[in-house]
C-alpha cells in the first residue's frame, strides 16, 4: 500500500430534489462526508441501502456532482469533470455490458474511445480476458455467458484501461452465495496483483470484512466509522456499527466507575459488567455494553480473573452446523446470545447438561466488551 492519497472526498454533501419536487423537500443523500483513500488500497463503503454509499461512489465516478464540497483524485479537484474525462472506471451492479457487441468489443470499448492503436488494443484485450480467466470467450455475446462470467467481463472491461481508481458498485450482488464467495477471494487476489485502488460499495458486512483493507461504515448519509476490518468488528464506535457488522449483545446500564480505559457498568441494576472504552465517562451515565456472541463461553463454574462471569439459565439451543447458538437468561430483563463452535462432533454429556432449562455459568474477558455511549 502506497503512502499517497488516491481519492479524497472533502466535506461532500449531496442533496436530491425530494419526491414531490416541491422547493424545500430535499433528500440529503450524502451528508458532509470526508474520506481519504490511499493508493493501492481496497476500500469498502459499507452500509444498508439508502445510506449514501452508491451516491458517494457515483460522485467519484462523475455521474453525480456534489452539492457542496470537493472530490480530489490524486490531488486534482474534480469539480464538474464528466465521467469520460476521469481516469476512473466503474463495475456496475448489473454489469451494464453492451448487449449488441461481442465480449472482445465490450472490453475494447474504453481503449477504442481513447484511440489506442489497434494492435495494442488487441493485445491488451487478450491480456485482460486472460486475467479474468476468460480467454477464448472474445467472440461471444454477453447474453451467452453466465452471471459470474459476465461479472468477470465487466471487471476486464474496466481494468483493461488501467484506471487510477476502480469503482465497484455491489458487483457481486446478483451472484449466488457460493459463486459470490469464490469471486470475493478472486477479486481480492486480482486487486493485489494489479495494485489498483479499489473502492467497493456493498451492503454485505461479511463481504466487506473479507476483502477490504479499510472499511467506511455509512448510515443516513454520514460516515460512522472508518477502520480496518478488525477495528470495525472488534472496536465498533457506536451502536449502529456494532449492530450492523455481525451480531452483538447490548447490555444497557449505568457507569459505576472508570479506571483508565476500563469501565464498570451496572447492568439492569444488579450485574456489574467490566468493559473497555476510549472515552472519559461520568459516573451514572447511561451506556450500553456490546459483546459478540462468540466471545462468551458457557462454563460449569465461575471463571476467575479478568472475566465477567455470571450464572444463568439456558432458554434456547439452536444447532446450526458449524456452531450451536444458545440464549441464556441472566436476569428477568437481561439475556445473552452465545455462539459456541461445535468442536465435538457427537452430542455428549457436556452438551446434554447445557440443554434448555439447564443452569450454567457464562464468562467473557473484560476486553471483549465495548462501552457504547449512544
Amino acid at each position: 500500500m502506497g503512502e499517497s492519497i488516491a481519492v479524497e472526498v472533502r466535506s461532500v454533501t449531496k442533496r436530491f430534489p425530494g419526491p414531490g419536487s416541491r422547493p424545500g423537500s430535499e433528500v440529503v443523500a450524502v451528508d458532509n462526508v470526508t474520506l481519504q483513500i490511499l493508493d493501492g488500497e481496497f476500500f469498502s463503503l459499507l452500509g444498508p441501502s439508502g445510506c449514501g454509499k452508491t451516491t458517494t461512489l457515483r460522485m467519484i465516478a462523475g455521474f453525480e456532482h456534489p452539492t457542496s464540497g470537493e472530490i480530489y483524485i490524486h490531488g486534482k479537484p474534480m469539480g464538474l469533470t464528466p465521467p469520460y474525462q476521469r481516469n476512473t472506471n466503474m463495475v456496475f451492479q448489473n454489469y451494464a455490458l453492451f448487449p449488441h457487441m461481442t465480449v472482445a468489443r465490450n472490453v475494447a470499448f474504453g481503449l477504442e474511445m481513447r484511440k489506442v492503436p489497434k494492435e495494442e488494443i488487441e493485445r491488451r484485450v487478450q491480456e485482460a480476458l486472460a486475467m479474468v480467466r476468460l480467454d477464448g470467450f472474445g467472440s461471444r455475446r454477453p447474453n451467452q455467458l453466465s452471471g459470474g462470467q459476465q461479472q468477470r467481463i465487466a471487471l476486464a472491461r474496466a481494468l483493461v484501461n488501467r484506471p487510477e481508481v476502480l469503482l465497484l458498485d455491489e458487483p457481486l450482488g446478483a451472484l449466488d452465495l457460493k459463486l459470490r464467495k469464490e469471486m470475493q477471494l478472486e477479486l481480492k487476489t486480482l486487486q493485489r496483483e494489479v495494485g489498483i485502488t479499489f473502492i467497493y460499495v456493498t451492503h454485505d458486512q461479511e463481504e466487506a470484512l473479507t476483502m477490504s483493507d479499510r472499511i467506511a461504515v455509512m448510515h443516513q448519509g454520514r460516515i460512522l466509522q472508518v477502520g480496518t476490518p478488525t477495528e470495525i468488528y472488534e472496536r465498533p464506535s457506536c451502536r449502529f456499527v456494532a449492530d450492523f457488522i455481525g451480531e452483538t449483545n447490548f447490555l444497557e446500564g449505568t457507569v459505576q466507575e472508570q479506571e483508565e480505559s476500563r469501565v464498570t457498568v451496572l447492568v439492569d441494576g444488579l450485574l456489574p459488567v467490566i468493559a473497555e472504552t476510549d472515552h472519559r465517562l461520568p459516573r451514572g451515565a447511561r451506556v450500553s455494553v456490546a459483546v459478540r456472541p462468540e466471545k462468551i463461553r458457557l462454563v460449569p463454574e465461575p471463571v476467575p480473573g479478568e472475566h465477567n462471569t455470571f450464572e444463568g439459565r439456558v432458554e434456547q439451543v439452536v444447532y446450526v452446523g458449524t456452531a450451536t447458538l444458545f440464549r441464556v437468561r441472566l436476569s428477568p430483563n437481561v439475556s445473552l446470545a452465545i455462539r459456541e463452535q461445535n468442536i465435538i462432533s457427537t452430542p455428549d454429556s457436556r452438551a446434554y447438561s447445557w440443554g434448555v432449562g439447564g443452569q450454567v455459568h457464562v464468562a467473557w474477558l473484560y476486553d471483549a466488551g465495548r462501552v457504547l455511549t449512544d
Partner: protein
Amino acid sequence: MISEQVARKTSLWELLRRRPGLQALVLLLPSLFWLIVFFAFPLLIVLVYSFLRRGPYGQIVWDFNLENYGRFLDPLYLKIFLRSFKIATLTTVFCFLFGYPMAYWMATRPRRWRNALLLLLMIPFWTNFLVRTYAWILILRDTGLINNVLMSVGLIRQPLPLFGNDFAIIVGLVYGWFPDMVLPCYAAIERLDFSLVEAAQDLYANELRAFARIIFPLSLPGVIAGSILVFIPSLGAYVTPDLLGGAKSVMIGNIIQNQFLTVRDYPFGSAISFALMTLMLIAALVYFRVGGRTL
C-alpha cells in the same frame, strides 16, 4: 343431469388440453376465416386477373398472357414507379429525421409525463385523414396560408410553388405517417437500459459517441420497424398524391386507381398491384436483412 353436463364440459376441455393442434385451430378459426375470405381469396382473383386481357368494353377476356407485366417497361410507367420510390424514401427519411429526436425526447421524460405526451402525439390523428389532408391544401396552395402571409409581409412577390408537386406530397405523407415512425422509436428508446449509456461514458465516450455507439444501435429495431411502417403505405399512397400532387405528380397508387375506375383495365391494374406488393416485400426483406446485420 347436472353432473352429466359437467362431465361433458370437462371432457371438451380435456380434449382441447390434450390436443394442442385442435386448441390452436379453435383459437385461430375466426381470424383464419376472415383472412381467407377477405384477403387470400381476393388476392388470388387479382393474381389471376393480372395474367388476363381487357376486352373492348372493359370486360375480362380469359386469354392467359404476360403482356400486362411487360407494360411496366414503358418509360411512362417506369418513371412513375421511380418517382413513387423516391417520394416514399424521402418521406421515410424525413419522418426519421423529425420523429427520432422527438421519440428520444419523449422517452427520456419522467415516467408520469410519458403517457400524456403520447396522447398529445395521437390526438391530431383522431381527426379524419381526408379532412387533415384537405387542411394541407389550404396551407400550401398559391392562395394558401403560407403564401398569403409571405406575400403580405412582402418577403415574396410570386407565390412559392408549394402545392401540386412532389414537395406537397412529401409534406402530406410525412405528416400522415409521422406517429408510425415515432411510436416504434419511442418504444425502443424507452426500453433502453440507460446504465449502458453511463457505462459508455465511464469508458471515455462523450455524449455524442455514447449516442452513436450505444443508444442508436440499440434503438435500431424501432427505427427499422418505423421505417417499414412509413415506407410501405407511402409507396402505395393514393389519397395524398391525388389531393396534394396535382396532374404531374402521379404515384403508383393513382395509376392503380385509374386503371380500375377510369380506364376499366382490371388486368393491368391487377398486374401493377401485384408488382407493387412484390416490390414492397423485397424492400422490407432487404431492410430487415441490412438492419439485422448491424445489430
